[in-house]
């Protein structure tokens, strides 16, 4: 009887050991497939686009015949210009907002409403943000299709990400530092500006650069705000900011790389197709650079701050 019991138990143990091995193998296979998908996607884009990318003129010429010929120089410039304007607007606001929520916020209805608002903003589809930007800035404010409308739409898309990153970074600063400052008679504001923000800087920079990568590839919010075309001719030397051909004029329409891909992906001609892939590869490389840069920059700042 005891033998039989032992036998059944041994069988059960063997069964569960086998299940354990099978499960481990299946999980490993899943991870393998995911890694394969990611690597092959990136490789595929780069492989398809690199031929166009190294073609002379692709990065330095303007687009011709509605984007189906020529280069993507203006789109590249517009993408970075949009990104810069977006960061200039969104970083200070997010920094202020996060500082308020972490350092000042008296727990209560105000904080709850604000956090809910930010959470709502983060879950809104970007097309809805784009529609709002279109109605508010392009129509109501009369800015039409303009870089500034696009940048504000991107800002709305970027703020929840940034606020969360900066909030996290500030919360990760040990509270002993906060206590020490307050005990020495510094105000909350001085503590924040001179101690907490510098201490949180590496994490903040990493977060900002990572979010920049996200903004760089966003297109749905831009379709109706900054428009789907760049001016045919841009003058980078002009300082006449009201001129529609001045590259620095924020009230001119502009088209990002991502929007450019969306605009011409359906064009059948082989030249347009190779431009699409070239643009995708360019976009991909920029995003990869942002990814690498965020890690490097965060580490470099952390090193410099702890070494000094």
């Amino acid at each position: 009887m005891a033998d039989k019991n032992d036998g059944a138990q041994a069988a059960r143990i063997r069964r569960s050991m086998r299940a354990d091995r099978i499960a481990t193998a299946v999980l490993a296979a899943i991870v393998g497939v995911v890694m394969l998908i990611v690597v092959s996607m990136v490789a595929y884009i780069l492989f398809q686009g690199v031929g166009q990318l190294v073609k002379p003129g692709f990065l330095t010429e303007a687009a011709r015949s509605n984007g189906t010929a020529g280069g993507v120089a203006y789109q590249l410039f517009d993408s970075f210009y949009l990104l810069v304007i977006t960061l200039v607007i969104s970083v200070p606001i997010s920094l202020g907002g996060a500082v308020y929520l972490v350092e000042y916020a008296p727990d209560g209805p105000v904080t709850r409403i604000a956090s809910t608002a930010i959470e709502t903003l983060s879950s809104l589809p970007s097309i809805v943000v784009g529609m709002f930007g279109f109605l508010m800035f392009s129509v109501n404010f009369g800015w039409g299709y303009s870089l500034i409308s696009g940048a504000i739409a991107l800002t709305m898309f970027n703020i929840p990400i940034l606020v969360r990153v900066i909030q996290q970074a500030l919360e990760d600063v040990p509270s002993s530092q906060r206590d020490a400052c307050l005990a020495m008679g510094l105000t909350r504001w001085e503590t924040t500006v001179h101690v907490l923000i510098p201490a949180a800087m590496p994490a903040i920079v990493t977060g900002v650069v990572l979010s920049a990568g996200r903004v760089f590839g966003e297109a749905a919010a831009l379709l109706f705000t900054s428009g789907m075309s760049s001016p045919a001719r841009l003058n980078f030397l002009s300082l006449n900011f009201a001129s529609p051909t001045c590259a620095w004029n924020i009230f001119r329409p502009g088209e990002s790389l991502a929007v450019h891909i969306y605009k011409i992906y359906g064009e059948g001609s082989p030249e347009a197709q190779s431009i699409v892939w070239g643009t995708a590869a360019l976009l991909m490389i920029c995003v990869l650079l942002f990814n690498v840069l965020s890690r490097v920059a965060g580490k470099a700042i952390a090193k410099r701050m702890t070494a000094e």
Binding site: A219, A258, V276
Partner: protein, 302 residues
Amino acid sequence: MAKIMPKRNLERVGLGVTGACVALVTLVVLALIFMVAQRGLTTFIKDGVDVAGFFTGTKWNLASTGPDGLPATGALPLIVTSFSVTVLSTVLALPVALGSAIFTVEIAPKFGRRVFQPLIELLVGIPSVVFGLIGFHVIVGAVRAIFNVDVGLGILPGSIVLAVMILPTVTTLSIDALRAVPDSYRQGSLALGYTRWQTIWHVVLRSATPSLMTAVILGMTRAFGETLAVRMVIGGIEAMPTSLISSASTITTTLTTSMAVYATGSVQNDALWSLGLLLMGMSLVFIMIIHLIGHKGAKSRG
């Protein structure tokens, strides 16, 4: 006294500046909600479009107006398609995301942190148009070859593209959820003689369920609102979907194609805003579900 006052002022300035930032963001969000709601409701209040007809009608055609002077605005096909791609992509992504999360947390934590997580974060950064482009060329081509159809656009390729897009969101959040399970649970289970898989299945996953559900819903939120990648592979025909591989159109893709066509204030434009309102309403519903799960989880933990 003269020395103390500036400090107090400084504090007031700090509070004012940072408070203004928060107030600004809150105001913008409120303005957005108000504006979308106002424009979206105009369709029903001012233009006289039937609410029930909007949600149950199966004919969507803004280009031509009927005998009553109104375009056909039955949004049911769009709603059905939106939910189909959302659910199907979640079903496709969930086992993969959960499997990779379990592997990276429970089986190979070092590999997970050093190799897998940076790789999956890379996937987050890939722009949605690039997903769409690959979907348009690779997945649609594959569908065409496998099912032997002419076009190959539709709900199935849309769901596959979306599944890859929400994979990093669901995976990363699931990894966080599994990491948050206290180690003592695992040790207790292993000490009782459970195998690793039994521990994972009966203990770790069970206790992480509320956070895992949050991860899934956040993934669904992203899938529901995703626009351009879906637009590029779904075909864009606003009719009731008849199969998974025939052209269809979601709420978001209809907005993309039609928004710039109709002038602000026209019935057609208002109907599109109603779709926008529907999208916004859905994302608010998703947030509410997440909060409910959070409350329940907090309550069950005591």
